[in-house]
Amino acid sequence: MGKKIQINKEFVDIMPQDYLDLVETGTFETPNRGWKDFGTATELIAEHSLCAGCPESIAFRHIMASIPNPEDTVMVGSTGCTSLVFPMIAVHNIHSLFGNQNAIATGLKRALAVRFPDRVKDVIVLAGDGATVDIGLDMTLQSWFRKERFTTICFDNELYANTGGQESGLMQKGFLAKMAPVGKKFEKVRLPEIARESGCDYVAIMTASKPSLVEKVIKQAVLIAREVGPTYIQIYTPCILEIGKQSMEGLQEMRTSEAPGERFKFREFISPEAQSFLDGLAEKKKAEKLATSGATS
C-alpha cells in the first residue's frame, strides 16, 4: 500500500470490495507501472457505460495504466463519450464545460504550482475531437501559444459520437454520418501539424492498437510537459457505433487506419529541447543500469 493513497481505518469495514482492492493493489506510487500490470493489479477504472467494444475504452485503459504518477495527477475532461468514464476513474479529475478544457487545465496547472511548490503535479487533458478541435479550438491553441506545461490528449473518433454522429473538424472529407448526411466538404483538420507550429514540444498521432506504444507515448508526453513545454497526442478511437462496425471490429479498424500511407500512421514530432531532455533521461537510465549491474557483479 502506498503512502499517499490510504484508506481511513474507520471506513474499512463499510467500503465496497472494489475500493479496498484499488487501495490494496492499485498501482499508485509504482515506478515503471504500465500495461504489464493488467490482469494482476487493480486498474484505475471501474465499470462505465461506454458501448461494448468501444475503442475509447481500450485507449482509456492503456492511458490509465501508463500515466507516470497517478497519485499526483489531475485530469481534465470535457463533454462527450469520454465524460461517461471520468466519474469512474481513480485519479482526481475535473469535468469542464464543453470546449473549455485547456483553459481549465491552464489555471489548474498554475494553481497546483502555487499550492504545492515542492511537489510535482501533472495535468492531463483528455477530450474528444469535437471538444478539442471545434468548440474548444480557441482554448486548445491559446494554451499552446502560451507554452502551458500540460498534456492534451484528443480521442479522435472523427465525429460527435455522444450526440449521434455530427460532423467534426477531424472528420475525413466526404464522410457521411447519421447527422451529417450531405458528406463533409472540407479536409480533416491537420491538428498535429498545427500543434507543432503552435508551440508543442512533443506531438504524436496514433491509434490505440498497441498498448506498449501508447504507454511509451503517454510517458514521454507527460514527462516532457512537466519539464519542457506543452505536448499533444491524437489517438484514433473509432466510434464503432457511428461507422457501422460490430463490437469486435474496433481493433481491426484501428490497424487498417494506421497502415503505411493511412491517416493514422504513427508519426511523432519532438522539438530539439524535448529531444535533449529525452536523451538526458535515457543517459540517466543507462547509468543507473550500469551502477546496479556493477553492484551485483
Binding site: 500495461w35 493488467f38 490482469g39 494482476t40 487493480t42 486498474e43 484505475l44 477504472i45 471501474a46 465499470e47 461506454l50 461494448a52 467494444g53 468501444c54 475503442p55 475504452s57 481500450i58 482509456f60 485503459r61 490509465m64 498498448p211 460490430q246 463490437s247 469486435m248 474496433g250 481493433l251 481491426q252
Partner: protein
C-alpha cells in the same frame, strides 16, 4: 439473456506468456490472470459481450475463448 466470454483453461496458453485478451478487452478489471493456475479468467459481471477477446485469441490460433449465454 446476455452473451459473456468464457475461457477454456485447457486451451489457454497464458503460462507461455500470452496476455492478448487481457491487453485488448475494452473493460477494465474484466479479464484477470489466475496466477496459481496461470490461465486468463473472465469476471462475468464486467463482461459486455463484445467478443474482441475471442477475435484476438483466435487470430493467434489459441481458440481458447468462446461466448456463452447467461
Amino acid at each position: 439473456m446476455y452473451n459473456v466470454a468464457e475461457v477454456n483453461a485447457e486451451e489457454c496458453v497464458a503460462q507461455k506468456g500470452c496476455r492478448l485478451c487481457i491487453m485488448y478487452c475494452p473493460e477494465a478489471n474484466c479479464i484477470q490472470m489466475d496466477t496459481t493456475k496461470m490461465v486468463a479468467t473472465i469476471v462475468e459481471s464486467r463482461c459486455k459481450g463484445c467478443e474482441l477477446c475471442v477475435v484476438v485469441c483466435d487470430a493467434a490460433k489459441h481458440n481458447a475463448i468462446k461466448m456463452v449465454a447467461r
